[in-house]
Symmetry: C2
Subunit: 504 residues, 2 copies
């Protein structure tokens, strides 16, 4: 398998050439707080940056590359040469040691609980998809940063940058075998690749909820309600976060007025989504190259600045779909009881080409972070894949910005390991007895950390504290002869001899 | 981004050339039972085959390849040409529509609950790792089938084929900042790539539990106990499944007798693991090429045929570590109360190069399936990555074979969608009122499927049955005027008018 033997262990070579640097990098990393999700200011839906730790990594990686260029043809070095590999996860990716994993589990648990409360069913798709699924012409950032490659069978594949195309694929595949509406949610890892060394992350997890088969704005209202339920659940209020809402039909009506070709629509949306991220002159140039006249551009930009439905009605008249959709959404928001979370903002278009109607994004009221989540209606996505269109809407909610926000607000939960019991034998001979005691407790549904070696009691108490054990159960010779064990309640220090078969 | 525009939509071209075939494949798939995990007879730890559905896919894929070879330089085709994409997930991968996802969730829930009962903490690692992490010289199948590629920054990376190397990397990275022993578990997707079109799957999920820092066999005994706890939880008994146990030290002692070089050890283990899978003559040839004399080979093969510790003691004497480890394990098994699940079998060596001591695998007593799970001690893995060695053991447990087994035994759980309430307005004007009712119920912790369109009652009842709703709540004009709704308990047909603020 030459494909595997080729690379000749880049990292080992790196260590050959820069032994000192590598140690320095490692010890530096030791002193950095390893935060799960670090602050950022990038634009893509949900991806985060961690400039501090990753910039160090990237300097190390450059050396790897330098080291490599001269060593492509050297013989493969085997691991048992015992040179230290790069102990960091690949650039832009994360390990989840227990602390970080507990936070992720907590977050996902809340995603799931809310989704289930709204009657949604969980689905998942391969993290690796055919590249064809993501090729769209609109010039989206998500496509330019596709993490794509050729597999060993010469197929073009990509690590999914988002979940919606896979969902669409599955919906087409299922065809008439499913009864509409579908209410599906997914929590999946998404990937992007960018060459810039800004230390941005290359993977994130995303919570998606989608409703397939409902043409009414009632679907969007339900989706926004579920996100708000999630916000409330984790302690955020309408003074922390809100939603900016608009409809792509606003844009469509303006473009139609100025006879901009229909097939420019997606592209114009992507350009507009870049307002505030690139200079206005570039925006204007891009719009011109999308067949828009200067008059049309100025009119468009004016409409985009509107912040009230009344003003929008003045501009577009009362008869259009854009206005009636938005009015219905705000009316439903009142009935749901979440009006105060919602505001109209014509500048919201979202950065994905496939949206066709209502679009929305969650934002922090202090304006420090990029969008927390975003979504909208995409009634024509299925036909771009050759399927029959179905009305559809959904949202994506990343795992990065929300954690930054909770951190800022002091709302991150305290999540500690907790094992109910620690069981320890006082004598090596009684290790088997301790196993039996652990088994009895586990069969009664209790969690047990069994001490597997002969350790001093001081060590056992320290471990008990670390795992937040409620009880310490000691298996000593004298008690064991009587079929008993010593049970110590660690919060009170209370200590009892209990018969083994009476352990609860 | 030429890297993205290159592939010119293979599938579309395929459809150009074979429009009929593609339709045929799609409709064929419709008639196949889409089973989550299909029966198989392959050898690698945990991966499954699904020869029926995948062989059809693979014939389609061959056409894609044929189609492509003539079309590399044709201009990119955009999705909105509305030709149907391949609606199947990439070859060898799975979608998880709701039914399959419920089974996966159930399985993972049981993995997690058992792990927690044993005091283990969950961790995770990137699905994409540096290829260097998996380069070992022993000729393992897992390495030959590495799903590796070069990323856009010219780094050699791989979709992880297993979790243990990532775990080792993280343990080295954490160094002295963690207190031993570590008891960690992970549930992660693993990948392999093979060119053969046997329709084998390219991804599976694997449950791992690992104990780092315990040199005693107590650790292996604890791991086996946790797997047995899992088996019992899902309804399997010692007459369904068992464990074959041996120690690599058995082999080591034989090899040492015949002065086979130490560094041949891993390689010899991999060769022996192929017994029963390739012809004995090939095994003998491979062993010869690993510096073993014919006498040594015959002796080795004889030892491998032993099925009792007494016989092993006759052969190796009573003093070696192999025997004392195994004796201790069987003695502990008695104390734990799982002796009947365990049997000594010297032929067990496992197919990964890094094991150093006790090895074990779970098997079905009918002998129809390949190993359900497998694991062992790997005390010297960390130093092959340049870290300081720590005693370690662990196991991998795939999501494929276990489901086949449960299916065969009729033990697959019935997992249905269940949403507690379905809420429906009887009048389009009352859609907002229905939203309010749904919100009240959700705030009280209930799950609610809200009907988002104006539908006939017949449709609503059908949906209520599909989602196994307990109650149907109708929002009608007359009741709503009185601040009430109509609540129907679907199992009894009982119907009540209830005040909205008294809804529970």
């Amino acid at each position: 398998m030459p494909a595997i033997l080729n690379p000749s262990l880049l990292i080992l070579h790196h260590n050959h050439h820069y032994p000192r640097l590598s140690t320095a990098v490692l010890s530096l990393r030791h002193h950095l707080t390893l935060s799960l999700f670090s602050p950022s200011r990038t634009t893509l839906r949900g991806f985060s940056t961690s400039s501090s730790s990753l910039s160090i990594e990237s300097s190390a990686n450059q050396n790897v590359r330098t080291g490599r260029s001269g060593s492509v043809s050297s013989p493969p070095v085997e691991h048992n040469t015992a040179e230290k590999i790069d102990v960091n996860p690949p650039k832009g990716t994360r390990d989840f040691p227990p602390d970080d994993m507990r936070l992720r589990t907590w977050l996902f648990h809340n995603f799931r609980e809310v989704s289930k409360q709204f009657g949604f069913e969980e689905v998942d798709f391969p993290v690796l998809e055919s590249e064809a699924l993501y090729i769209r012409k609109a010039g989206e950032e998500i496509r330019d940063q596709l993490y794509c490659f050729e597999d060993r069978g010469n197929r073009r594949v990509a690590l999914r940058p988002e979940l919606t195309p896979s969902l669409a694929r599955l919906v087409i595949q299922k065809g008439k075998s499913v009864s509409l509406p579908l209410k599906w949610f997914a929590i999946g890892q998404c990937w992007r690749y960018e060459r810039m060394t800004r230390g941005r992350r290359r993977e994130h997890y995303q919570w998606n909820m989608d409703i397939i088969g409902v043409p009414d704005v009632t679907a969007e209202a339900e989706l926004i309600s579920s996100i708000i339920t999630f916000f409330k659940r984790i302690g955020l209020t309408a003074s922390d976060v809100g939603f900016k809402v608009s409809s792509r039909k606003v844009l469509q009506e303006v473009l139609r007025c100025y006879s901009v070709p229909e097939d420019m629509f997606g592209r114009v949306c992507i350009i507009i989504d870049k307002i505030g991220k690139i200079p206005m002159d570039d925006i204007r140039k891009d719009l011109q190259s999308a067949d828009m006249s200067e008059v049309a551009i100025e009119e468009l930009l004016q409409v985009l600045s509107l912040k009230s439905l009344a003003k929008l009605e003045e501009k577009l008249g009362a008869s259009g779909e854009a206005l009636s959709d938005l009015k219905q959404l705000f009316s439903l928001a009142e009935k749901y009881g979440y009006s105060e979370w919602l505001q109209f903002d014509a500048s919201i278009v979202r950065g994905l080409a496939y949206y066709t109607g209502i679009v929305f994004e969650g934002f922090d009221r202090e304006g420090k972070l990029r969008a927390i989540c975003g979504g909208g209606r995409y009634d024509r996505l299925l036909s771009t894949f050759g399927g029959d269109d179905l009305p559809a809407c959904g949202f994506g909610f990343g795992d990065a910005v929300i954690v930054e926000l909770l951190k800022e607000r002091g709302l991150l939960p305290e999540l500690n390991l907790q094992v109910e019991n620690i069981v320890c034998s006082l004598d090596q001979e009684l290790q088997g007895a301790a196993s039996a005691v652990a088994t009895i407790l586990r069969e009664k549904g209790q969690s047990v950390d069994l001490v597997l070696e002969n350790k001093p009691l001081k060590w056992v108490f320290k471990r008990a504290a670390r795992i937040n054990a409620r009880r310490l159960i000691l298996v000593g010779n004298a008690e064991w002869q009587k079929g008993m064990v010593n049970v110590k309640t660690l919060s009170t220090g209370e200590q009892l001899e209990i018969k083994i078969d009476e352990l609860e």
